[in-house]
């Protein structure tokens, strides 16, 4: 998700080369895993994409699974950041709209990360069970409580708060995960994300107006 080795602090005892190669492998792994899922990905293709030999890959990561886990871990913070940013002190409708916008930007700017995540959840999320039931569920609970309070105060239309969150996830991620289908329907020359922005803005404004 970034590549600045000069500013990024290095792990304990890691040389610049090691940092660089780890980054190369993660970048390659992201490309391959997001396309074919965990089981469909092969070390051969990751190695080729990273321009490293297969054994060299396994010098940096003990296994294929380790690469996958490292990617998912690194992804999660960035993925949950927009929801974390929902400010209980803010203006309700605008707060939710800002969340929708940030989430749509993630879909636009990091579609491979979105698909990596989608692939994992589709499988039943074997590498994410603890996170989904723990960190994620807790975060949604916390923010759902805020949304519920706003609804009680009449500052937001009454809706099941968790499903409101699901609807934001579904609508924004759809443009990354189903990109192929969206483009097939819209045809060439149209920009799905440019159209999705105003559409989702309008949708949630209508939905949430108290």
């Amino acid at each position: 998700m970034d590549g600045q080795e000069t500013t990024e602090p290095r792990g304990p005892g890691r040389t610049r080369i090691q940092e660089r190669n780890r980054a190369l492998i993660l970048e390659a792994g992201l490309a391959v895993f997001s396309e074919t899922g965990f089981r469909g990905a092969t070390l051969d293709r990751i190695a080729k994409s990273a321009r490293l030999s297969k054994p060299n890959l396994l010098y940096y990561f003990p296994s294929k699974e380790a690469i996958h886990l490292a990617l998912l871990q690194g992804l999660l913070d960035a993925w949950l950041a927009p929801l974390r940013g929902l400010d209980p002190e803010g203006e309700p409708v605008e707060e939710v709209l800002a969340y929708v916008r940030r989430k749509l930007e993630l879909s636009r700017d990091f579609p491979r990360e979105s698909r990596l995540f989608a692939n994992e959840v589709l499988r039943g999320a074997p590498h994410l069970t603890e996170v989904l039931g723990g960190e994620l569920a807790a975060l949604v609970d916390e923010k759902a409580a805020i949304l519920g309070r706003w609804m009680d105060e009449g500052r937001l239309a009454r809706l099941p708060p968790e499903h409101l969150v699901f609807s934001i996830w579904a609508l924004t991620q759809h443009y990354a995960d189903f990109d192929t289908q969206v483009r097939a329907v819209l045809g060439d020359g149209r920009d799905p994300f440019a159209e999705a922005g105003p559409f989702l803005d309008l949708l949630f404004r209508r939905l949430l107006a108290p």
Copy 2:
């Protein structure tokens, strides 16, 4: 999607056993492909699930790809039927709501089919390119025109019609494809689909009211 060999017409020159085994293989293929995607699925697992030997599998289908293609083909009609059912003579809001309901029922009753489809589109839909750009795009164009007409007549809120369709797909399929995540957030003892029904009803009623 069904199993009644007695009422279902048989293909040309197929015995009852052949029909039955083909159905067994497709059922097993659906289970495996929907979990791990095309590349992640193996003939071994499909064979085991169908309780047939691997060569016997390949007696009925010439290749792994053929099983996958047969599944996708069989799926598409059922998948597009709800949208086809959108009646230009009906009452606009109720027509769209009926479509949403039928689509959500598909997600609830055929989640594996939904995930099979999601897996394929996530990969870039190599086995569906013609269909997406052809049949699907044409159907959406046709129905988008109807929606646009209703909007012109002031019987439906003005929205980009294609994105309205995308939003229906995204919101209904989310409950099948991200079932793991939804359940992790909601916790045990809650029924995602029972809650999603009224929620989506409310959402689209608010969104579409002229």
